[in-house]
Protein backbone atom coordinates (compact mmCIF):
# COMPACT_ATOMS: atom_id res chain seq x y z
CA UNK A 1 0.00 0.00 0.00
CA UNK A 2 1.41 3.39 -0.96
CA UNK A 3 1.38 6.06 1.72
CA UNK A 4 -1.38 8.60 1.28
CA UNK A 5 0.91 11.48 2.32
CA UNK A 6 3.16 10.62 -0.62
CA UNK A 7 0.15 10.49 -2.93
CA UNK A 8 -1.03 13.87 -1.63
CA UNK A 9 2.45 15.26 -2.39
CA UNK A 10 2.22 13.88 -5.93
CA UNK A 11 -1.19 15.48 -6.40
CA UNK A 12 0.20 18.83 -5.28
CA UNK A 13 2.96 18.55 -7.90
CA UNK A 14 0.27 17.86 -10.49
CA UNK A 15 -1.56 21.01 -9.32
CA UNK A 16 1.51 22.94 -10.39
CA UNK A 17 1.24 21.23 -13.77
CA UNK A 18 -2.33 22.45 -14.07
CA UNK A 19 -1.37 26.02 -13.17
CA UNK A 20 1.37 25.98 -15.80
CA UNK A 21 -0.92 24.64 -18.52
CA UNK A 22 -3.56 27.23 -17.60
CA UNK A 23 -1.01 30.04 -17.85
CA UNK A 24 0.11 28.65 -21.20
CA UNK A 25 -3.46 28.52 -22.50
CA UNK A 26 -3.78 32.22 -21.70
CA UNK A 27 -0.57 33.35 -23.37
CA UNK A 28 0.25 30.96 -26.23
CA UNK A 29 -0.28 32.01 -29.83
CA UNK A 30 0.27 28.78 -31.66
CA UNK A 31 -3.01 26.87 -32.12
CA UNK A 32 -1.39 23.47 -32.50
CA UNK A 33 0.37 23.73 -29.16
CA UNK A 34 -2.77 25.13 -27.54
CA UNK A 35 -4.59 21.94 -28.44
CA UNK A 36 -1.82 19.70 -27.15
CA UNK A 37 -1.56 21.72 -23.94
CA UNK A 38 -5.29 21.31 -23.44
CA UNK A 39 -4.98 17.57 -23.85
CA UNK A 40 -2.02 17.60 -21.44
CA UNK A 41 -4.14 19.46 -18.90
CA UNK A 42 -6.90 16.89 -19.23
CA UNK A 43 -4.36 14.10 -18.88
CA UNK A 44 -3.11 15.67 -15.64
CA UNK A 45 -6.70 15.62 -14.40
CA UNK A 46 -6.93 11.92 -15.30
CA UNK A 47 -3.84 11.20 -13.21
CA UNK A 48 -5.18 13.27 -10.32
CA UNK A 49 -8.43 11.29 -10.43
CA UNK A 50 -6.47 8.02 -10.41
CA UNK A 51 -4.35 9.14 -7.44
CA UNK A 52 -7.51 10.22 -5.60
CA UNK A 53 -8.90 6.76 -6.27
CA UNK A 54 -5.84 5.27 -4.58
CA UNK A 55 -6.45 7.51 -1.56
CA UNK A 56 -10.23 7.25 -1.32
CA UNK A 57 -11.05 4.05 -3.13
CA UNK A 58 -14.35 5.19 -4.61
CA UNK A 59 -14.91 3.53 -8.01
CA UNK A 60 -16.70 6.58 -9.45
CA UNK A 61 -13.29 8.22 -9.66
CA UNK A 62 -12.05 5.40 -11.88
CA UNK A 63 -15.01 5.88 -14.18
CA UNK A 64 -14.43 9.63 -14.30
CA UNK A 65 -10.77 9.05 -15.13
CA UNK A 66 -11.70 6.66 -17.94
CA UNK A 67 -14.30 8.90 -19.49
CA UNK A 68 -12.08 11.98 -19.22
CA UNK A 69 -9.23 10.12 -20.85
CA UNK A 70 -11.35 8.90 -23.73
CA UNK A 71 -13.14 12.18 -24.39
CA UNK A 72 -10.83 15.00 -23.42
CA UNK A 73 -7.43 13.50 -24.02
CA UNK A 74 -8.21 11.63 -27.22
CA UNK A 75 -11.44 12.50 -29.03
CA UNK A 76 -11.90 16.26 -28.55
CA UNK A 77 -8.25 17.26 -29.19
CA UNK A 78 -8.29 14.99 -32.24
CA UNK A 79 -11.37 16.73 -33.61
CA UNK A 80 -10.01 20.19 -33.01
CA UNK A 81 -6.65 19.32 -34.50
CA UNK A 82 -8.35 17.95 -37.61
CA UNK A 83 -10.46 21.05 -38.14
CA UNK A 84 -7.55 23.25 -37.60
CA UNK A 85 -5.53 21.42 -40.18
CA UNK A 86 -8.35 21.84 -42.67
CA UNK A 87 -9.04 25.50 -42.14
CA UNK A 88 -5.32 26.19 -42.15
CA UNK A 89 -5.29 28.66 -39.32
CA UNK A 90 -2.04 28.28 -37.45
CA UNK A 91 -1.95 31.12 -35.01
CA UNK A 92 -4.28 33.19 -32.90
CA UNK A 93 -2.67 36.54 -32.33
CA UNK A 94 -5.74 38.69 -31.89
CA UNK A 95 -7.10 39.56 -28.50
CA UNK A 96 -10.10 41.55 -27.24
CA UNK A 97 -10.16 43.63 -24.09
CA UNK A 98 -7.09 42.10 -22.47
CA UNK A 99 -3.60 41.33 -23.68
CA UNK A 100 -2.18 37.95 -22.56
CA UNK A 101 0.11 39.71 -20.11
CA UNK A 102 -2.69 41.59 -18.42
CA UNK A 103 -4.88 38.47 -18.34
CA UNK A 104 -2.05 36.67 -16.53
CA UNK A 105 -1.81 39.46 -13.98
CA UNK A 106 -5.58 39.56 -13.62
CA UNK A 107 -5.81 35.80 -13.13
CA UNK A 108 -3.31 36.15 -10.30
CA UNK A 109 -5.70 38.56 -8.60
CA UNK A 110 -8.60 36.20 -9.29
CA UNK A 111 -6.75 33.30 -7.67
CA UNK A 112 -6.10 35.40 -4.59
CA UNK A 113 -9.75 36.40 -4.50
CA UNK A 114 -10.94 32.79 -4.83
CA UNK A 115 -8.50 31.76 -2.12
CA UNK A 116 -9.76 34.36 0.33
CA UNK A 117 -13.43 33.76 -0.52
CA UNK A 118 -13.14 29.99 -0.15
CA UNK A 119 -11.21 30.20 3.09
CA UNK A 120 -14.12 32.25 4.45
CA UNK A 121 -16.70 29.79 3.16
CA UNK A 122 -14.96 26.59 4.18
CA UNK A 123 -13.74 27.70 7.55
CA UNK A 124 -11.76 25.00 9.27
CA UNK A 125 -11.47 22.79 6.21
CA UNK A 126 -8.41 24.70 5.04
CA UNK A 127 -6.38 23.43 7.99
CA UNK A 128 -7.80 19.92 8.21
CA UNK A 129 -8.01 18.99 4.57
CA UNK A 130 -5.27 21.05 2.98
CA UNK A 131 -5.23 19.08 -0.26
CA UNK A 132 -8.96 19.30 -0.82
CA UNK A 133 -9.00 22.99 -0.09
CA UNK A 134 -6.24 23.68 -2.64
CA UNK A 135 -7.96 21.44 -5.16
CA UNK A 136 -11.15 23.45 -4.92
CA UNK A 137 -9.33 26.81 -5.07
CA UNK A 138 -7.50 25.65 -8.15
CA UNK A 139 -10.69 24.29 -9.70
CA UNK A 140 -12.51 27.60 -9.45
CA UNK A 141 -9.44 29.56 -10.54
CA UNK A 142 -9.08 27.32 -13.58
CA UNK A 143 -12.71 27.97 -14.39
CA UNK A 144 -12.18 31.72 -14.19
CA UNK A 145 -8.96 31.54 -16.22
CA UNK A 146 -10.79 29.53 -18.87
CA UNK A 147 -13.47 32.20 -18.89
CA UNK A 148 -10.81 34.81 -19.48
CA UNK A 149 -9.45 32.83 -22.43
CA UNK A 150 -12.99 32.60 -23.82
CA UNK A 151 -13.62 36.31 -23.82
CA UNK A 152 -10.15 37.62 -24.59
CA UNK A 153 -9.47 35.52 -27.69
CA UNK A 154 -10.90 36.37 -31.07
CA UNK A 155 -10.83 33.07 -32.93
CA UNK A 156 -13.71 30.67 -32.43
CA UNK A 157 -11.34 27.72 -32.00
CA UNK A 158 -9.49 29.29 -29.10
CA UNK A 159 -12.75 30.42 -27.54
CA UNK A 160 -13.79 26.77 -27.54
CA UNK A 161 -10.50 25.77 -25.96
CA UNK A 162 -11.11 28.32 -23.22
CA UNK A 163 -14.56 26.88 -22.67
CA UNK A 164 -13.14 23.36 -22.50
CA UNK A 165 -10.56 24.44 -19.96
CA UNK A 166 -13.40 26.00 -17.92
CA UNK A 167 -15.04 22.60 -17.90
CA UNK A 168 -11.74 21.10 -16.68
CA UNK A 169 -11.99 23.52 -13.77
CA UNK A 170 -15.50 22.30 -12.98
CA UNK A 171 -14.26 18.71 -13.07
CA UNK A 172 -11.35 19.53 -10.75
CA UNK A 173 -13.67 21.28 -8.31
CA UNK A 174 -16.05 18.33 -8.51
CA UNK A 175 -13.24 15.85 -7.83
CA UNK A 176 -12.22 17.58 -4.64
CA UNK A 177 -15.29 19.11 -3.11
CA UNK A 178 -18.62 17.74 -4.19
CA UNK A 179 -19.61 14.23 -5.07
CA UNK A 180 -20.56 14.97 -8.66
CA UNK A 181 -22.88 12.14 -9.73
CA UNK A 182 -21.33 10.15 -12.52
CA UNK A 183 -24.31 10.56 -14.80
CA UNK A 184 -23.92 14.34 -14.76
CA UNK A 185 -20.23 14.07 -15.54
CA UNK A 186 -21.15 11.79 -18.42
CA UNK A 187 -23.74 14.23 -19.74
CA UNK A 188 -21.26 17.10 -19.52
CA UNK A 189 -18.79 15.16 -21.61
CA UNK A 190 -21.43 14.42 -24.23
CA UNK A 191 -22.33 18.10 -24.27
CA UNK A 192 -18.70 18.95 -24.82
CA UNK A 193 -18.36 16.59 -27.74
CA UNK A 194 -21.47 18.05 -29.34
CA UNK A 195 -20.09 21.52 -28.71
CA UNK A 196 -16.86 20.66 -30.46
CA UNK A 197 -18.75 19.12 -33.38
CA UNK A 198 -20.86 22.25 -33.69
CA UNK A 199 -17.78 24.38 -33.57
CA UNK A 200 -16.30 22.49 -36.46
CA UNK A 201 -19.21 23.83 -38.41
CA UNK A 202 -19.41 27.28 -36.86
CA UNK A 203 -15.71 28.00 -37.06
CA UNK A 204 -15.91 27.85 -40.80
CA UNK A 205 -19.15 29.59 -41.44
CA UNK A 206 -20.59 31.63 -38.61
CA UNK A 207 -20.24 34.89 -40.50
CA UNK A 208 -21.57 33.74 -43.87
CA UNK A 209 -24.89 33.20 -45.60
CA UNK A 210 -26.15 29.66 -46.13
CA UNK A 211 -25.19 29.57 -49.84
CA UNK A 212 -21.80 30.93 -49.14
CA UNK A 213 -21.43 28.50 -46.28
CA UNK A 214 -21.85 25.50 -48.55
CA UNK A 215 -19.08 26.79 -50.78
CA UNK A 216 -16.83 27.30 -47.82
CA UNK A 217 -17.30 23.74 -46.66
CA UNK A 218 -16.00 22.70 -50.04
CA UNK A 219 -13.14 25.09 -49.92
CA UNK A 220 -11.98 23.78 -46.57
CA UNK A 221 -12.51 20.15 -47.62
CA UNK A 222 -14.95 19.58 -44.77
CA UNK A 223 -17.67 18.37 -47.12
CA UNK A 224 -16.87 16.05 -50.00
CA UNK A 225 -19.71 15.71 -52.53
CA UNK A 226 -19.75 12.66 -54.72
CA UNK A 227 -21.51 14.59 -57.47
CA UNK A 228 -19.98 17.72 -58.82
CA UNK A 229 -22.15 20.77 -58.28
CA UNK A 230 -22.75 22.42 -61.59
Amino acid sequence: MIESAFLAGLIKVLFVGIIITAAYLITARNLMSLVSVYSLQSFTLVIIALLLYLIEGSPVLLAIAAITFASKVLIIPYFIATIQEKIRIKRDIQFHFLSPTSSLLLSMGLMLLVYIALSQVMEGIAERENLFFFGSVLGISLMLMGMMVTFSRKRALTKVLGFLSMENGVLLFGLFVTELPFIIEFLIVIDLIILVLLTTILTVGLDSTLEDYHKRLHRFHLWEDTEEVA
Binding site: G9, V13, I19, P100, T101, L104, M108, M111
Partner: protein, 313 residues
Protein backbone atom coordinates in the same frame (compact mmCIF):
# COMPACT_ATOMS: atom_id res chain seq x y z
CA UNK B 1 37.31 35.42 8.62
CA UNK B 2 38.17 31.75 8.96
CA UNK B 3 40.57 29.81 6.77
CA UNK B 4 37.60 27.84 5.53
CA UNK B 5 36.08 30.99 4.14
CA UNK B 6 39.30 32.15 2.47
CA UNK B 7 39.64 28.72 0.89
CA UNK B 8 36.03 28.98 -0.25
CA UNK B 9 36.71 32.35 -1.91
CA UNK B 10 39.69 30.97 -3.83
CA UNK B 11 38.02 27.70 -4.74
CA UNK B 12 34.76 29.23 -5.92
CA UNK B 13 36.44 31.90 -8.06
CA UNK B 14 38.86 29.41 -9.61
CA UNK B 15 36.12 26.92 -10.39
CA UNK B 16 33.73 29.45 -11.87
CA UNK B 17 36.44 30.93 -14.11
CA UNK B 18 37.58 27.51 -15.21
CA UNK B 19 34.18 26.07 -15.94
CA UNK B 20 32.32 29.06 -17.40
CA UNK B 21 33.57 28.82 -21.02
CA UNK B 22 32.80 25.10 -21.03
CA UNK B 23 29.09 25.64 -20.36
CA UNK B 24 28.68 28.36 -22.95
CA UNK B 25 30.59 26.20 -25.44
CA UNK B 26 28.30 23.28 -24.68
CA UNK B 27 25.18 25.38 -25.31
CA UNK B 28 26.62 26.45 -28.69
CA UNK B 29 27.39 22.82 -29.54
CA UNK B 30 23.89 21.61 -28.65
CA UNK B 31 22.33 24.38 -30.73
CA UNK B 32 24.55 23.44 -33.66
CA UNK B 33 23.54 19.77 -33.37
CA UNK B 34 19.84 20.57 -33.38
CA UNK B 35 20.36 22.62 -36.53
CA UNK B 36 22.21 19.74 -38.19
CA UNK B 37 25.59 21.44 -38.04
CA UNK B 38 28.70 20.08 -36.42
CA UNK B 39 29.36 23.28 -34.51
CA UNK B 40 32.56 24.60 -32.95
CA UNK B 41 34.64 22.24 -30.78
CA UNK B 42 33.57 22.04 -27.14
CA UNK B 43 36.64 23.92 -25.93
CA UNK B 44 36.55 26.59 -28.63
CA UNK B 45 35.57 29.26 -26.11
CA UNK B 46 38.87 28.74 -24.25
CA UNK B 47 40.89 29.12 -27.48
CA UNK B 48 38.96 32.26 -28.38
CA UNK B 49 39.70 33.78 -24.98
CA UNK B 50 43.41 32.96 -25.27
CA UNK B 51 43.50 34.43 -28.76
CA UNK B 52 41.75 37.61 -27.66
CA UNK B 53 44.09 38.11 -24.72
CA UNK B 54 47.05 38.13 -27.11
CA UNK B 55 45.50 40.78 -29.34
CA UNK B 56 46.01 44.50 -29.15
CA UNK B 57 43.30 46.76 -27.69
CA UNK B 58 42.06 49.50 -29.98
CA UNK B 59 39.93 52.39 -28.75
CA UNK B 60 37.70 54.60 -30.82
CA UNK B 61 38.90 58.23 -30.93
CA UNK B 62 35.59 59.20 -29.30
CA UNK B 63 36.05 56.83 -26.37
CA UNK B 64 36.56 58.22 -22.89
CA UNK B 65 37.79 56.56 -19.70
CA UNK B 66 34.48 54.69 -19.45
CA UNK B 67 35.49 52.47 -22.34
CA UNK B 68 38.77 51.63 -20.58
CA UNK B 69 37.22 51.06 -17.18
CA UNK B 70 34.04 49.22 -18.22
CA UNK B 71 35.54 45.75 -18.89
CA UNK B 72 37.38 45.79 -15.58
CA UNK B 73 34.41 47.03 -13.57
CA UNK B 74 32.18 44.54 -15.34
CA UNK B 75 34.46 41.60 -14.65
CA UNK B 76 35.06 42.68 -11.05
CA UNK B 77 31.35 43.06 -10.31
CA UNK B 78 30.54 39.70 -11.85
CA UNK B 79 33.39 37.96 -10.00
CA UNK B 80 32.24 39.41 -6.67
CA UNK B 81 28.70 38.31 -7.51
CA UNK B 82 30.13 34.84 -8.23
CA UNK B 83 31.32 34.69 -4.61
CA UNK B 84 27.70 34.95 -3.53
CA UNK B 85 26.72 31.71 -5.23
CA UNK B 86 28.57 28.69 -3.85
CA UNK B 87 29.13 26.16 -6.62
CA UNK B 88 30.33 23.19 -4.61
CA UNK B 89 30.93 24.18 -0.99
CA UNK B 90 28.65 26.19 1.31
CA UNK B 91 30.61 27.91 4.11
CA UNK B 92 29.31 29.90 7.04
CA UNK B 93 28.38 33.35 5.65
CA UNK B 94 30.69 36.22 6.54
CA UNK B 95 29.92 39.93 6.43
CA UNK B 96 27.04 40.20 3.98
CA UNK B 97 28.52 37.97 1.29
CA UNK B 98 25.61 35.95 0.05
CA UNK B 99 22.92 38.58 0.45
CA UNK B 100 20.58 38.12 -2.50
CA UNK B 101 19.68 41.81 -2.83
CA UNK B 102 23.33 42.80 -3.03
CA UNK B 103 23.80 40.00 -5.55
CA UNK B 104 21.11 41.47 -7.75
CA UNK B 105 22.60 44.94 -7.64
CA UNK B 106 26.10 43.69 -8.40
CA UNK B 107 24.68 42.22 -11.59
CA UNK B 108 22.95 45.55 -12.23
CA UNK B 109 26.24 47.42 -11.75
CA UNK B 110 27.95 45.22 -14.33
CA UNK B 111 25.08 45.75 -16.72
CA UNK B 112 25.12 49.50 -16.18
CA UNK B 113 28.79 49.78 -17.06
CA UNK B 114 28.37 47.56 -20.08
CA UNK B 115 25.59 49.85 -21.33
CA UNK B 116 27.73 52.93 -20.69
CA UNK B 117 30.57 51.39 -22.71
CA UNK B 118 28.14 50.69 -25.52
CA UNK B 119 27.21 54.37 -25.63
CA UNK B 120 30.71 55.66 -25.05
CA UNK B 121 32.28 54.58 -28.33
CA UNK B 122 29.74 56.61 -30.26
CA UNK B 123 28.67 53.90 -32.72
CA UNK B 124 24.97 53.77 -33.49
CA UNK B 125 24.78 49.99 -32.95
CA UNK B 126 26.21 50.29 -29.46
CA UNK B 127 23.77 53.03 -28.60
CA UNK B 128 20.82 50.94 -29.76
CA UNK B 129 22.05 47.92 -27.85
CA UNK B 130 22.46 49.97 -24.69
CA UNK B 131 19.06 51.55 -24.99
CA UNK B 132 17.40 48.17 -25.44
CA UNK B 133 19.37 46.58 -22.63
CA UNK B 134 18.34 49.35 -20.26
CA UNK B 135 14.66 49.09 -21.24
CA UNK B 136 14.78 45.34 -20.66
CA UNK B 137 16.46 45.72 -17.32
CA UNK B 138 13.89 48.29 -16.26
CA UNK B 139 11.12 45.81 -17.09
CA UNK B 140 12.80 42.71 -15.70
CA UNK B 141 13.83 44.32 -12.40
CA UNK B 142 10.40 44.05 -10.68
CA UNK B 143 10.13 40.45 -11.81
CA UNK B 144 13.60 39.61 -10.50
CA UNK B 145 12.77 41.23 -7.17
CA UNK B 146 9.55 39.24 -6.89
CA UNK B 147 11.33 35.97 -7.76
CA UNK B 148 14.03 36.66 -5.18
CA UNK B 149 11.38 37.68 -2.65
CA UNK B 150 9.65 34.37 -3.25
CA UNK B 151 12.97 32.60 -2.65
CA UNK B 152 13.49 34.58 0.54
CA UNK B 153 10.01 33.73 1.78
CA UNK B 154 10.29 30.03 0.95
CA UNK B 155 13.69 29.61 2.62
CA UNK B 156 13.03 32.26 5.28
CA UNK B 157 16.37 33.96 4.66
CA UNK B 158 17.86 36.64 2.42
CA UNK B 159 21.16 34.83 2.34
CA UNK B 160 21.97 32.62 -0.64
CA UNK B 161 24.22 30.40 1.49
CA UNK B 162 21.37 29.78 3.94
CA UNK B 163 19.01 29.07 1.02
CA UNK B 164 21.37 26.43 -0.37
CA UNK B 165 21.81 24.89 3.06
CA UNK B 166 18.03 24.87 3.56
CA UNK B 167 17.37 23.28 0.21
CA UNK B 168 20.12 20.71 0.91
CA UNK B 169 18.50 19.88 4.26
CA UNK B 170 15.09 19.14 2.71
CA UNK B 171 16.73 17.57 -0.32
CA UNK B 172 13.46 17.18 -2.23
CA UNK B 173 13.25 18.52 -5.72
CA UNK B 174 9.61 17.84 -6.39
CA UNK B 175 7.78 20.16 -4.04
CA UNK B 176 5.28 22.37 -5.86
CA UNK B 177 6.91 25.64 -4.81
CA UNK B 178 10.35 24.53 -5.98
CA UNK B 179 9.00 23.61 -9.41
CA UNK B 180 7.44 27.06 -9.78
CA UNK B 181 10.64 28.72 -8.51
CA UNK B 182 12.65 26.63 -10.96
CA UNK B 183 10.57 27.92 -13.89
CA UNK B 184 10.81 31.53 -12.71
CA UNK B 185 14.56 31.27 -12.20
CA UNK B 186 14.95 29.71 -15.63
CA UNK B 187 13.19 32.69 -17.21
CA UNK B 188 15.39 35.10 -15.20
CA UNK B 189 18.44 33.14 -16.39
CA UNK B 190 17.38 33.44 -20.01
CA UNK B 191 16.82 37.17 -19.70
CA UNK B 192 19.89 37.98 -17.62
CA UNK B 193 22.25 36.11 -19.93
CA UNK B 194 20.69 37.49 -23.13
CA UNK B 195 19.53 34.18 -24.58
CA UNK B 196 17.13 33.50 -27.38
CA UNK B 197 13.56 34.52 -26.80
CA UNK B 198 14.93 37.85 -25.53
CA UNK B 199 18.18 38.40 -27.37
CA UNK B 200 20.22 36.41 -29.87
CA UNK B 201 23.74 35.66 -28.61
CA UNK B 202 24.90 34.50 -32.06
CA UNK B 203 24.57 37.64 -34.12
CA UNK B 204 26.88 40.59 -34.38
CA UNK B 205 25.25 42.14 -37.39
CA UNK B 206 21.50 42.03 -37.05
CA UNK B 207 19.49 45.00 -35.98
CA UNK B 208 17.86 42.91 -33.27
CA UNK B 209 20.97 42.41 -31.20
CA UNK B 210 21.11 43.70 -27.66
CA UNK B 211 24.03 42.31 -25.72
CA UNK B 212 26.34 41.83 -28.69
CA UNK B 213 25.58 45.34 -29.91
CA UNK B 214 27.12 46.80 -26.80
CA UNK B 215 30.27 44.73 -27.29
CA UNK B 216 30.85 45.73 -30.92
CA UNK B 217 33.47 48.36 -30.11
CA UNK B 218 35.39 46.18 -27.66
CA UNK B 219 38.58 44.53 -28.79
CA UNK B 220 41.52 42.47 -27.57
CA UNK B 221 41.90 41.89 -23.85
CA UNK B 222 38.84 44.01 -23.10
CA UNK B 223 36.69 41.87 -25.35
CA UNK B 224 38.10 38.76 -23.68
CA UNK B 225 37.10 40.17 -20.28
CA UNK B 226 33.61 40.99 -21.53
CA UNK B 227 33.13 37.52 -23.05
CA UNK B 228 34.47 35.79 -19.97
CA UNK B 229 32.25 37.85 -17.69
CA UNK B 230 29.20 36.94 -19.78
CA UNK B 231 30.14 33.26 -19.47
CA UNK B 232 30.71 33.61 -15.70
CA UNK B 233 27.34 35.31 -15.33
CA UNK B 234 25.70 32.42 -17.17
CA UNK B 235 27.45 29.95 -14.87
CA UNK B 236 26.41 31.65 -11.64
CA UNK B 237 22.79 31.97 -12.77
CA UNK B 238 22.87 28.27 -13.67
CA UNK B 239 24.44 27.46 -10.29
CA UNK B 240 21.70 29.40 -8.51
CA UNK B 241 19.05 27.36 -10.27
CA UNK B 242 20.83 24.01 -9.90
CA UNK B 243 21.78 24.33 -6.25
CA UNK B 244 18.28 25.41 -5.25
CA UNK B 245 16.36 22.82 -7.17
CA UNK B 246 18.74 19.83 -7.19
CA UNK B 247 21.11 20.49 -4.29
CA UNK B 248 22.22 16.85 -3.84
CA UNK B 249 25.99 16.50 -3.49
CA UNK B 250 26.67 20.03 -2.27
CA UNK B 251 29.45 19.95 0.37
CA UNK B 252 28.90 21.56 3.76
CA UNK B 253 32.33 20.74 5.19
CA UNK B 254 35.70 21.27 3.57
CA UNK B 255 37.09 17.83 2.72
CA UNK B 256 39.00 16.99 -0.42
CA UNK B 257 36.84 14.01 -1.33
CA UNK B 258 33.60 15.89 -0.70
CA UNK B 259 34.70 18.87 -2.78
CA UNK B 260 35.85 16.68 -5.65
CA UNK B 261 32.59 14.76 -5.67
CA UNK B 262 30.58 17.98 -5.46
CA UNK B 263 32.59 19.53 -8.30
CA UNK B 264 32.08 16.47 -10.46
CA UNK B 265 28.36 16.44 -9.73
CA UNK B 266 28.13 20.15 -10.41
CA UNK B 267 29.77 19.81 -13.82
CA UNK B 268 27.41 16.96 -14.58
CA UNK B 269 24.26 18.81 -13.49
CA UNK B 270 25.47 21.99 -15.19
CA UNK B 271 26.04 20.11 -18.45
CA UNK B 272 22.52 18.71 -18.32
CA UNK B 273 21.13 22.19 -17.72
CA UNK B 274 23.30 23.57 -20.53
CA UNK B 275 21.85 20.95 -22.88
CA UNK B 276 18.34 21.93 -21.75
CA UNK B 277 19.11 25.61 -22.36
CA UNK B 278 20.50 24.75 -25.79
CA UNK B 279 17.40 22.76 -26.73
CA UNK B 280 15.14 25.49 -25.37
CA UNK B 281 16.92 28.08 -27.48
CA UNK B 282 16.87 25.92 -30.57
CA UNK B 283 13.13 25.33 -30.26
CA UNK B 284 12.29 29.02 -29.88
CA UNK B 285 12.30 32.00 -32.16
CA UNK B 286 13.43 35.37 -30.90
CA UNK B 287 10.47 37.32 -29.63
CA UNK B 288 9.60 40.74 -30.93
CA UNK B 289 10.82 43.48 -28.65
CA UNK B 290 7.34 44.39 -27.45
CA UNK B 291 6.36 40.79 -26.74
CA UNK B 292 9.23 40.11 -24.38
CA UNK B 293 7.29 41.43 -21.35
CA UNK B 294 4.86 38.49 -21.69
CA UNK B 295 7.79 36.21 -20.81
CA UNK B 296 8.53 38.27 -17.74
CA UNK B 297 4.85 38.23 -16.81
CA UNK B 298 5.05 34.44 -16.71
CA UNK B 299 7.89 34.52 -14.16
CA UNK B 300 6.08 37.24 -12.25
CA UNK B 301 2.89 35.18 -12.20
CA UNK B 302 4.57 32.03 -10.91
CA UNK B 303 6.62 33.75 -8.23
CA UNK B 304 3.68 35.80 -6.98
CA UNK B 305 1.74 32.56 -6.77
CA UNK B 306 4.53 31.13 -4.61
CA UNK B 307 4.34 34.14 -2.32
CA UNK B 308 0.56 33.81 -2.06
CA UNK B 309 0.82 30.10 -1.28
CA UNK B 310 3.62 30.52 1.24
CA UNK B 311 2.21 33.56 3.01
CA UNK B 312 -1.42 32.51 3.20
CA UNK B 313 -1.18 28.75 3.55
Amino acid sequence: MSTDFILYLLLNTALVLLIAPLFSGLIKKVKAWTQGRQGPPLFQQYFVLVKLVKKEVIYSPNASWVMRAAPLVNMAAILVAALFVPLVFVPEPVGGIGNIILFMYLLALARFFMALAGLDAGSSFGGMGSSREMSFSAIIEPTTIIVFAALAIVFKSLDIFAMFAGSLATGTLATPTLILIGISLFIILVVETSRIPVDNPETHLELTMVHEGMLLEQSGKNLALMELSAAVKLTIMMALLINLVIPAGLALTLTTAGILLAALLFVLKGSVLAVIIGLFEASMAKKRLFQVPSLFAMAFFFSTLIIIIEVLA
